[in-house]
Each structure stands twice: as C-alpha cells, then as structure tokens.
Amino acid sequence: MPRRTDIKSILLIGSGPIVIGQACEFDYSGTQACKALKEEGYRVILINSNPATIMTDPELADRTYVEPITVEVVEKVIERERPDALLPTMGGQTALNTTMALVKRGTLEKYGVALIGASAEAIHKAEDREAFKHAMQRIGLRVPTSGTAHTREEAIKILEQTGFPSIIRPSFTMGGTGGNIAYNREEFEKLIDWALAMSPVSQVLIEESLIGWKEYELEVMRDLKDNVVIVCPIENLDPMGVHTGDSITVAPAMTLSDKEYQRMRDAAVRIMREIGVDTGGSNVQFGLDPKNGDMVVIEMNPRVSRSSALASKATGFPIAKIAAKLAVGYTLDEITNDITGVTKASFEPTIDYVVVKIPRFAFQKFRGADPTLTTQMKSVGEAMAIGRTFKESLQKAIRSLELNMNGLSSREGLDRGIPEGYDRLSALDRIRQHLRTPIAERLWHVADGIRMGLSNDDLFALTKIDPWFLEQIRELMDFEALLVRQETKKPALLEESLLWQAKEQGFSDDRIAELIGSTAASVRAQRTGAGQGKRRVTYKRVDTCAAEFEAHTPYLYSTYESECESRPTDKKKVIILGGGPNRIGQGIEFDYCCVHAAMALREEGIESIMVNCNPETVSTDYDISDRLYFEPLTEEDVLNIVEREQPLGVVLQFGGQTPLKLALPLSKAGVRILGTSPEAIDRAEDRERFRDLLNKLGLRQAESGMARSVDEALQIAGQITYPVMVRPSYVLGGRSMQIVYDESGLLEYMGSAVKASPKHPVLIDKYLSDAIEVDADAISDGTNVVVAGIMEHIEEAGVHSGDSACSLPPYSLDRSVVEEIRRQMKALALELGVIGLMNAQFAVKDSMIYVLEVNPRGSRTVPFVSKAIGVPLAKLAMKTMVGKSLPELGLSEAPEPTHLSVKESVFPFNKFPGVDVLLGPEMKSTGEVMGIDQDFGWAFAKSQAGAGAPLPKGGTAFISVKDSDRPAVLEVVQRLQQLGFTVQATSGTAEYLNSHGVETETVNKVREGRPHIVDHIKNGRVALVVNTVRTASSHADSLSIRREALNKGLAYYTTIRGARAAVMGIEAILKKELTIRSLQEYHHHP
C-alpha cells in the first residue's frame, strides 16, 4: 500500500520538558518522525515546549510551536493550522494523555482531525489498568492478581487477595510516579495514602508481587496489513520489582530458550492485535517465574518509548522512523532497511553482539530521597555499551557511566585481594544487606560478594539476579584475581596473552593497571607499541543482520577481535565528542549542540565522526553523522578512535563537562583540539589564573578565598563578611554548595558536610544577596565576537543558573548594564582567544557587575538562545572551528528580537517524596521549557504552564515569607489583591500585611493546630503559594506546605523575584487572550 494521499498535514505532539521517565528519547523519536513525514511530502506541524530539542529546530517541521503542551494550547494550534491528522505516539505519555484529553473534549471531531498510529480505543485499552487486564484475560494471558481502589479501605480489602509484598501503582501517572512496594501493613497504609494523592483520579492499582521474577521487554512493530515483527527481546538483569528504566538491561535476551521466547513472542503479537494498535511500535513487558517458566503480562505501551529508543540503538532498526511511515499507510515490506540497502523493514533484527544499558542516578542531589529502587523510576539518565560478549559490554557500560569507576571496583577495598585484619564477618553482613535491597550500586556489591566467597546460590537467594549473569560477573572476578597475581611475577608488564584476554573481556587500561600495580599509560604503551603483532582494537558494525548482508552505514563499536570493519576514509574529518549519559547539569542541551556540529560539518563538506554512549539521544542516530562510534567517552576509548581515524581534530566544546575533562589528556597525547585551546580552557577553569585574567581586564569578581582548614575558613569568611557561598574545590555542578549566613553555619558546614584539607580545599565566595544573576552566551571566531544572548535570571543569584528561570532579553535590567555585560563578554572572549562558544555568568548588585564564572564551551542555554533569536549558534560555532569567520557566516551582530522568551526549569521533586523543593546553589532540575510571547507576562505565564504549574487567574494566594522579605512581598500582595485574589498568611506575615493595609486572613501553621495551611491546600482552597525561608534546615516545618503545593500541581514560588514575575504573568493572562505563534513566524522563515 502506498502512503495515504487523503491527508496532507499532520500534527505531532512532543513530550515537553525532560523529566525522570521521559527524557531525550522522545526528541530522538520525534525528530525521526518529523524527518520521515517531511520526506514523504506531508506538511508537519509540531508542538513541543522544550527548546533544547532537535525536533523543534525550525527546519524540521513546517510549523513549530514552542508552546506549553496543554489541551487549550494544542486546540488553538489545531484551530489555527487545521491538520488532517494527529500522530500521538511519538511524544511519550505527555502526547498520549494530551491526545486522550483532546478526544474527550471533542476537539478532534470538531476539526475533523484523524488519529493515526493508534486509535483512542486502543490507547484506552492499553493505558487503563482495568481495561488492559480484561483484554489480557480475553486472549488467555495471565496478568498479576490485582484490584483497583479509590480509598484506603478498598485498598485493604484488595490486599487480602494479593498479599505482601504489595505492589502499588497509581493510575494515570508517568514513569510509575507514586508507585511503591509495601512489605507490611503499616507501610502499606502510608504508601496507599501517598499513591492516592499522586493519582489525579485518586485511583490506585494494588497488585500481587512478582518480585524476583525475571523481566523481559519486547519491542513490537505492526503495520496496517497486520504484519507484526519483534525488533528485539530485552532482558532485565535486575528482576521484577525494579522499574525497567532503573534496571540494567541486556539485549538480546540471554537466558530464554527458544520455546520460552517464542511463547513470549506469540503473546506479544496477540496483545498487539487485541489492543488494536493499528501501526507503529509498542513495548510489551513480561514477567517470568524462574522456577517454572510461568509467564505474566506486566504492561504494554502503545507508543514509542525509552525502550524502543534503546532497541533502535541496540539493533540499528529505526523504530520511530518506521513507525511514522507505517502511520501514513506504508507496510513493513515497502520500507527499505537503510543499513543493508537491499533488505526490507519487514524482518526481525538479529544481533551478533551484546548490548548493556546501565542507568545513572542522582540521589546525592536530593537529600532525604529514598535510594531504594522500586517500581517508580528514579534514574536521570543511562549509558549503553556494545561489546561482543556480555562481559565486555558490561565493563564498557560501567565506564560509560562516568562515575569514576573504570570497572567493577570494590566498594570494600578488596580490589587487590582481602587485606590483612579485615573483618570478614561484618563485611559479609554489610554486603548481604546491600544485596537484599535493590539499590543503584548493587552490581558492585555483587562483585564484592563474589570476592568474599559467596556462591551463586547465595547471591541468587539475596538478589534473584539470574545465575547466568552472576556467573559472568564471577568470571570477571576470577580474571581480576588472576591479574592481581601477575603483579608479583612480572611488575608493570603483562604477559601478552593475558593482556589480550583482559581486553577481550572489556577491561580498561586503567583497571588493568590498578590490578597489576601499573599505570594506564604503560598498559596502553604495551598494547599499542611495536611487537604486538597484528593485534589492535577492532571495530565492528551494527548491521541488524549479524553480517548476513553488507552494512552500508558506519555505525561502529569497539572490541578486541581479528577483523576490523571501520574502513576509515581519507576525507577531511572531525571527531565530535558527545555528552555521555544524561545527568542533572548535563542533558539534552549538549546533545543538541553535538547534532548541530555534525550538521555544520556536513554543510562544510567535512566528514563528521560522532562518539557518544547515550542511547536516548539524536546524536547516536546513525544518520546524523557520517560515522558513529557508540563508545564510552574515556581517554582510552577516544584515543583509540583518534588513532584509527586520524581526524583533523577533535571538538570538545559541545558535549558539556564530559569531553572538556579530556582536553588535557588528549592534547598531551598530541591530538589537535579544535576551537578554543586547552590552554584557554585551563585559564578559565583554574581559580588563580582566572582571577589574574579578570584583574588584567579590570573586571570585578566577588571577594573570595580558599580554605585548607576550619580556622582558615573562619578567617576568610570573617574578612569578606557573611553571607558566603561555600563549596569543595573538587566537585562540579554545584555539588555540596551552600550559602552560609554566620559563623555557626560555617562551622556546621566545615564539620559535617565537607572536610577541608590541604588536598581538598574549600572555596569561600562572598554571597551577593539579592543580586540579579545574568547568563550570557557568545560566539567568537578569534577576532570577532558576537554576544548572542543575555538572559536575566528570574530567581536571584544563589540559585543555580540551571535551576533559575530566565528571560531573553532582560526584563528589568537597565540598558546600560546590559551593554556593559556585552562589553565584558567581548573582552573575555577575545582575551581567552575563544573560537566557538563561550558562556559566562554575572551577578548585578546595585548596578555593579560581578563576573561569577566563564565557561569556554557550549552551554546549557545555547539551544534556548538559538530558538529565541533564530540563529543556530552551535552550527555557526562549529564552522568557526574549521576556519570560517563570523562575517563569512553572515553574523555580525545578534538579532534583537521584539518578542520575549522565558526559560523555566523543571524539577523531579515529585519522584522523591519528602525532599524539599527549595532552590539553591546545587542544581536539581532535569529539564526546561520555553515560553515565547510579545510581552514578558505572557511569556512567563506560558513557561509556567509548560512546566506543569499554570498560573491561576484568581482564588486564594497563600503567603509565608522570611522576615527580611516582608517589605518586598508587600507590593506583590497588593497587586495580587488588586487582581482579585484573596490573601492568606501565617500569623507573622499576616500581621505585617494587615498592618500595612492589606487585608489578610490568618491561617494556622502546621504545628498550630487544625485546620492548618496544608489542610487548605489539600482541600483545593489555595491557588498560589509564595513561601520563602532563610535556609532549608531552619524551616523544616514549612516543608509540608511546599510538598503539598507540589503534589497539587499549584503554582508556588520560593523567591520574591519569582513571585513578582508570577504577578506580571497573572496580570498578562487576565488582560489578554492566549495567542500562539510558530517559530517560523517569529523568525520569518518561509
């Protein structure tokens, strides 16, 4: 069947901001879908509030709306663009839920928009837990025993049938939010209450526990002719009970016999047909009892998912692209397999390597968060590795995580054997304890358990990890022990056959060095030196077909075997280093830049070579670059590629901190770094040299000092006066950064949080209270500098720049201040000799400008600025690095948009019950949204709606602020009252407001008796919360207010500047109707 001609235009809904459970995999799928549909000649209309996505690049769709993904806004888009069809399966749960809401509202019917890909009935059948259960029973498949409850009492009744441990799953939440496992009655009641609160419809599914069963996922494709193929079976190393997003997963399935696998495949096919997913990809999850092979269906997602992105990267089968083509009427047999060029998409990939995915967590960032892994996803990113064997792949995946672990390093100091005097019994107790409860580090504890002599049976009893995987880890431990024994025989040099055996099993040079008591450099020298015969690292191709057909796409991974298939060309080429796994502080923004770099190189006729290990990304799509190396971003792995490819140079500026860390080692190894020199990078990063630089340029910096002891700290803080910002010198991303207000605070910090020492000094900066923070991005070719964007933060300095909302152009700063910042940016860029991008942060206090930091690389704000001003900065930056000047590129100065763009950050607090939502110097956000409009108020309002907490148009505003904020909040409250809000406050604030002529109702604090403020919020009587506190710890009692506001999805502000912006937003939405415009219209694209 050829493509449908009865539809001409198609609306795509993106997934919005990056949150836990919904990350850049949906940019990957959305981008593939946009490209595929445009290629087919359809007019593509896109809505996505996330500016850091490739899919929202104006070239990818005909109309791109960077607007909040709410039913009202999408309806407006439909009204304006009149698409013929809506494809709801590419934007995760967000797109599905929005689509279902549009169906309910009658919008699609009203405007005659056809749903393609999946019908409303199919979505309902798959998503509604009861409907799904019945559907499965109809086709004779088992689902876990369960029941749905709307109250605690109902829940307890169901529990009688399902028993403990009890799985709790709230309905209509994403990524298992609110889900949990209860082991006893008390815990059950507590968790049920929370789950009921998290579910927007107060509905909870209580399910029989299958903890310890093996878990599998099948990625399934179906076309309109009912042809069904399985793209890949994936096995979870972590058994049931851990969310699949938090599990280590392996492809292909490792421990299934063909009979079992085919039974699962049959079930998956029948589920596709029963649910009625017309076309496209779906994901089906199964549980399998390891004792007898009993199989249950866990769930199915009638859309592309994180797992389908993984399966696409794991096999080379582009699920989203093909799903888009199927949605418009093609059948699988009509679509060519791009990799072979001769076969069709109607087949099942077979792979001759092993893929391991490992999640990355961020528990350290959320004090008080429970690190136990449960049915609710908690990881913020993931790394994937490809190797010829599981052992190799696992070890590559571990080093891809960038957690300073180059292998299965011991948590007990047992790497080189068990030390003398080691308390075995207590260590075993400790290890057993760690193994019993699933946590992020469990894999490493398994390794320690093996080192301590636990058998596979012991380990299986504790972890329920399949013995096959345990045995693989045991083989690695056996080999480690063998390497340790080598040391005494022959220091520093390994017997050749052992070296290659180690490399075949995925051991990194530095892990080998650790084990034999040598250095990575000498292992490398031995490995690459003369006399090693023909042995070298080899690269194999990912080809979907286990070499049965020739692969035309250079999608490569390293291994140590006899044949290398990399076949480097002799063209001019550049290596781009990606950002690795997502983490807080380094996410999709950097991948966006890397993709642009590849596109720029293509435009310049230079071959682009991408290196990355994050399966969620667009950059690891095989058709983005000319050559893709799916590899860890370590010195060893990158140098291997450089040696093989011999590029013109390597680009480090786009992948965030990950590649930047490699600047020195790579340049030491003689690799040419394109763009800003490593020397300049060092000048900006080294504290002393940076101070000299600012002095030379006559720029101001907040007073600061470096303390190597408590006494020194007290002395410095006394000198520069409190409040001060303190942080350890050796961590990145604002980890353990704090604002300290007095000596006792400083002593507490130095005593508990951080131990200062000569080796690890503590940095102390003057904290500029109530200063306005400004972010700026510039691009330079070495002689010309263009300051592309100056962004005024909405929250004051002291809130991490990645967590603050910001406005471009500035909405309250004086023109002269902005001009001065522009001047300083240029001076900095020229002095550093920046070629490419540079970002700097400033604080403005009393019209004085202080330079906070300078990053000579692409920053988190590059995609936002690019979309705000309509200039592809990363692309141009790449071109300056290969010799183009800015005038040649047609960029003499940055356009000054007449519209306002606001970026708002999005936080994962709802995944971590009990954690405070206050913002501080340590970054906590996972993603961002953008609001664009003609005025600041509306742009801000859109950003809030996009972030999931729309501004209220009226109701009750609850105010509780610290003493010093009272004068400032007065104006906010007055304006709210003029806008028709009633005002409530706790006693102190209320007294102050009443005495200043604002009629305020006093409500009880939580400890003052009921009904108190939290009751009011719970009962839906509060529309807006403004709550500022001096420090998180001093106001633990107001935590429940903030948590409840979060649970209710209320607009809440924890800074005065945030509250002011909210008032401007409310004014705007009360004054003027919502209007929307596409990026193409803003920037006058055709």
Partner: protein, 391 residues
Amino acid sequence: MKKALLALADGTVFEGRALGYEGETVGEVVFNTAMSGYQEVLTDPSYKGQIVTMTCPHIGNYGTTSEDAESRRIWAEGFIVKEASRLASNWRSRQQLQEYLHGAQIVGIEGLDTRALTRHLREHGSQQGLITHIDGDPSRAVAKAQAAPSIIGRDLAAAVTCKETYRWTEGTGEWTPSLGERIGVGTTRRWHVVAYDFGVKANILRRLVDVGCDVTVVPASATSMEVEALKPDGIFLSNGPGDPEGVPYAIEAMRQLIGRHPIFGICLGHQILGLAMGLDTYKLKFGHHGANHPVMDLRTRKVEITSQNHNFAVKVASSITAIPDRPPVVETSFGQVLVTHLSLNDHSVEGLASVDHPVFSVQYHPEASPGPHDSAYLFSAFIQLMEKQHA
C-alpha cells in the same frame, strides 16, 4: 585452555579454543543467525554434513534438555561459537552445553571471531572446513578441509532417515503455537498422513499431530507402492540435509504420487517436489539459516517471519528480481504451478502450489523450532487440502 583451529578450503584459518569432544571434524561450514534455539539447530538432521557457526555470541546459556531435541541425536558435524557458557541457567535445563557436546562426541571451537568468519562465508560462499583440536599445523588443516567431500550431489538423506516405518503420536503439548486467528483447525476427523523422513524434525511431526493427523513415518527410500499400501489421506515430505538431486529415488516416487494424494512438502521435501515436477534446483552461495527470514505470501500479500535452513533452492524459468503483483505461474510437466511465496531478502522461491493437483510446499520451516510461529497456519492448510480432497 586447549587451542583449536578452524581451516577453510580456501586457505583461511582461524584460531580458537577447543570446545566439546577432542578430535577433528570436517563438513561444509555454514552460519546460522538465530539468537535462540542452538539445541534445535544441532539436532536438526538437515545439518548433516555441515559445521554450524552460530552468529549469536553467547551459546549454551540456558543449557540443553531432551525436550528441545529435534531428533534422536546431534547431526551437525561440528559447532562454532564465540563463547560457550560454562553455566546453564534455566529451569528446563538438564545438561550443560559442553557436556552435551562431549557426550555426543561433537568437535567444536570457540573464542574465534565468528563475525569475521560469517563475513568471509558471506563473501566467499560456504565451503568445506575442518575443526581440529589435535593438529596445530595450519597448512595441513587446510589440506584436510580441501579433501573433505562436498555436499553437492550427495545422498545425505540416506544417512539420517529412519530405518523402519513407525507411528508418531506426540503433539507439541504446552508449547503449541498460539498466535490467535490465523491458526485453527476446522476438522472433524483425524487424517492419516504418511510422512517421508528425509531427516524429519520432530516438531513437524508434533505439529501434524496437533492439527489432527495420525502420522506414519516412512524411510526416505519408501516406494510409491509401499506408501499406497498404507492407505494415506495425505502425504508429507520432510526437510532433510544436502542436495535434493542426491535423492533421485524420492523424486521418482513423487512422480508416481503427485495427483493421487494431497501432498505437503517442507524444505528438502519442497525441493524434491520441484524436481519431480520438472523444475530445477541450484545451490545458494551461503544458504539461508536463521529465524528472521521474511517471506511474502503472494496470495495474501502478508509477510511471515520464518525459520529457514537450506542450501539449495528451486529455480523457476525466468528469475524473479522483484516482488510481483500476483503469484507467477510456471508451466511444469504436472501442469501449472504457482509460486506462492517469495523471500523478501533475495526473491528466491519460498513456496509452490500446484494449480492442477492437491500439492503445495514451502522452502522454509512452518514448524519453527527454533523460530517464530508465523507460518503455523500451513499445517492447517494441509488439513484443509485433505478435507477438500476427501469431501
């Protein structure tokens, strides 16, 4: 760890580690791309004369069990894997792979670059090879590989077929395919099917039982008279090893039987039917061995993901280079024959059905094992054919 060599007739030598029984073995080296089902592969009599390479790097993970054997023994001449698991982990497993190979005296090799080997076979064609644990001299190993007999023209079916006629009564039991609407038997009686054993896989016989057949298995050499004496409702021709031209007696028997009974053939059985009707067969460069082969049913335009294992294929007069709109018609000595199924990968003939006689056959394996169950409907189609014939 004992070293082992794999030598190919074209002079290529791979070094690896010894696997299985210590010794030396020769055969045609082929690769199979299925990710599961290694035991079914080893015990598939169609691998007689061949050394099998599994492209999936980990083999042996879930052990072995007599339930997964497709015949009474291992038939593959040798086994090549990247890594054989030292631990079997599955509730069904009774024996670990190495022990299983050792017990069956199968010589194997592991720890070599099986992807390089596969690419080599793809480029240069499958060819004779030798695995040795006992001779470390590469040039001697190559010479031995070159001296090994080719499978072309050889009667390998004779080596694997049963000696005596027997009844088969076992079905697939708990492992019965269940894909829903495309499977299902409308039959009211049981059908007596005589199955020619050219190296039959047990799952074919089980599937015949599942759909309502009483099965009598006869040796490959059974004559048409002997078959007639059994009073069959239908005749089934099984899969088997090697070159269909190596079994002229079976081709001759078919010429007697076509038109007299409903006939269903699989794999070698399909090729024998083709030859009996006057079509030709030819050897493929490296064969089709795997569980992911897409085949289009040209009558319904639907695609089945099939299990395949063959080195030869049926040729039709004008070679097919693209998927035609309708099944091509071929004139044969038994009247018109439709090409009902084609490979989407290389457009080779995957299925035939006679217009004038109740005969149909497929090149691939609808009994799967290993592989997907998409084509299970063909067994029901055989029942329908018998129903129609006996209506």
